[in-house]
Symmetry: C2
Subunit: 408 residues, 2 copies
């Protein structure tokens, strides 16, 4: 069974509402589909944006997997290697043994706030009380080398949010993150880790990791067994802010990871809250900077609830809201295949090679909007999308949030 | 010699610019005028608003002093007692002996920012380097029970402002005020005290008081020898904010005096700055509340300078700016006497007694705008102004900032 191409992130504008509603109706994937989603999402050169582009183009993960070697080698590159069926089966079995589960974009268990984000992870691994990730969440993040006062504030804020029925999400780091998880453990605490859900990091949080896997939830984009690397943290931070209605920054130095999370939050249209601190404490610098730039000053959970009130009451589930606008034009939903973009050879007024040369000529290491590329090349949006997909899979083009592309 | 009625606070609107310029040209008062100003300003029932109303009505302090007993007893009250010539002479002599001087509104030495305030003190006593009070000023105020960190911040902010050529004004209280004065002592430090300039309060600031009287300046609205009373402090705070382009609040508890100063600052159109602090420290509550309500977050003097920059560069001296709009209608400047409001008996269509009954009927203990009163009574603005003046002098009506009046 195949699912409709418009099930995955697509722009709000241009999606006829009837079709969009049908397309966004959530359902669990069949076991075979889930395996294909996992394989495709773990394939070489396939990040979230490419993943959804392939689904739109081929209508299903299975068809995209079939096309992957051919498509990626068209630009002269070595064919991209897909995750093997055996490896995927073994990852799913391992998740199962841990008592976790794999959640795919669009499934009922996929957090709706995150689903609306530009490059939402196609698959998530969840350990613990998976239902928690469907509740409205607020992120509480901050410094690893937090002061005792900072940790106390994080714990109290988290407990206060929990009392109001809000699940607290954080990154299971030392300091503020750990304090926030502890404060919300009884009411709902969700950790997003940079590595696999089964990897304890840092070691001092082992007890908390176990408590969350039992009484809270642990979420990861990366496969089981992945040790967290520096480059994983920004992606992890993007998921934290993506899950949340708003993020609260407690004690963050200038240029710290928490500020990156705050920037993602702003890009994702989330509320940003910051706890003020003395200018004499360098750990307050980041939060004070956020306040200077318009973050909501936060002393207690009441400050957060007052600001989020309108979002919490009478707010439609985020799943019903069409995804962000900065995506490639929507391919109409059904019938799935017929509506897929035609191959450039059939629709573009120039030859495929000429079109490809044109696109490469217009690209540079500086990211450019795909829309702008379409305008400059005077090709159809569908033709440009298809050629960009091939260039991506061949590793020649890099995707950036906001529907931007650059030459590698 | 008489000076023009429009020399004292009057509204921006309705003042023909040629006349206004002439009227606002500052000059020193003659010795006799100065004595009369002092006598009138220290007379019973004569606050700043009444003082300026009398000057507008009678054209000079001498004429107002002549009229005072008759005018104040018209409503059946005991005639208001004016300060005696002997007492005024002895106050001026005492100020002279201290090396201080009396500065009257509109004189070249009267601070121009303060001159534009609704109920600016008609006379000020200044001790020390009087020239300092003509420089652009920023107020640094805060908690008496300040923390060591708060005092350090106040000192550093004051020093940083001083380096930028800004004179720092504060209230010579314990804690933040004292630290601010110390930080700016070398570059320019002005204290506004609630009592007389010769009264040391609190005793622990005796050394600082002496240093300011020598290397800075001390300012007071009250006569020499006045012990500061609780009711003097809000008026003192109004002068501090009135003198300044902006005020910085460092450590202020909720509902503290510093917040009253901040409220005056907002009413006077001054910038409000606040230094953030931990929500766990009750001394941060007030400053954090100000930040929540739009104050500029301040960590260093650079934050203040960045915000005040446009005000400091190419800004016309405040003396040239017409005073606030919330004042009774301007009486044209010259010829002074002819343009004064006519007495109601001559101009109002109803008898003076009937008009008075009408006004009293419309008044209540809840302050009401004079403009509204004029509308409701269907009397001329001049008639209402004159009758209100009589009621004030008889102690039956109270004036409030913003051109509001209430029944006592």
């Amino acid at each position: 069974m195949r699912i409709s191409g418009a099930c995955w992130p697509a722009p709000r504008a241009g999606s006829p509402s009837g079709k969009a509603e049908r397309a966004l109706a959530a359902r669990d994937l069949e076991p075979q589909e889930r395996l294909d989603w996992l394989r495709l999402s773990r394939s070489e050169s396939v990040g979230p944006v490419t993943f959804y582009a392939l689904l739109r183009r081929f209508g299903s993960a299975a068809a995209a997997l079939d096309a992957l070697p051919r498509l990626s080698s068209r630009q002269g590159a070595r064919p991209a290697v897909a995750m093997s069926r055996r490896d995927a089966e073994s990852e799913l079995a391992a998740i199962d043994r841990l008592g976790g589960r794999l959640v795919c974009w669009g499934e009922p268990l996929y957090p709706s706030a995150l689903a609306s984000v530009d490059d939402a992870p196609p698959v998530l691994t969840v350990l613990g009380l998976a239902g928690l990730i469907l509740a409205p969440m607020v992120a509480v993040v901050g410094a690893r080398n937090a002061s005792a006062n900072g940790r106390r504030l994080a714990r109290e804020l988290a407990a206060g949010l929990g009392e109001a029925g809000i699940v607290v999400v954080s990154g299971l780091a030392r300091g503020i993150d750990a304090a926030a998880h502890i404060g919300a453990l009884e009411t709902g605490s969700v950790a997003v880790v940079a590595g696999g859900v089964d990897i304890v990091y840092p070691e001092e949080n082992r007890g908390l990791h176990e408590a969350l896997a039992r009484d809270g939830a642990i979420l990861a984009e990366m496969p089981l067994g992945t040790e967290p690397l520096a480059r994983h943290f920004p992606r992890r931070n993007r998921i934290i802010s993506g899950l949340a209605l708003g993020i609260v920054v407690v004690e963050a130095a200038a240029k710290s990871g928490s500020l990156i999370t705050a920037r993602y939050a702003l890009e994702q249209g989330r509320e940003v809250f910051a706890v003020p601190g003395s200018p004499l404490d360098p750990r307050s610098r980041g939060a004070n900077d956020l306040l200077r730039n318009g973050a909501t000053l936060t002393e207690t959970a009441a400050d957060i609830l007052a600001q989020l009130g309108p979002l919490l009451q009478g707010r439609p589930p985020i799943r019903e809201i069409a995804p962000a606008q900065s995506r490639p034009p929507l391919v109409p939903a059904a019938p799935a295949r017929a509506a897929m973009p035609a191959m450039p050879a059939a629709s573009a007024p120039v030859s495929e090679d000429a079109a490809l040369d044109l696109i490469i000529e217009k690209l540079s290491p500086t990211p450019v909007a795909v829309d702008e590329l379409v305008r400059q090349c005077q090709l159809s949006a569908a033709a440009v999308a298809t050629l960009l997909l091939e260039l991506e899979l061949a590793g020649r083009v890099e995707r950036h949030p906001g529907n931007l592309v650059s030459l590698r």
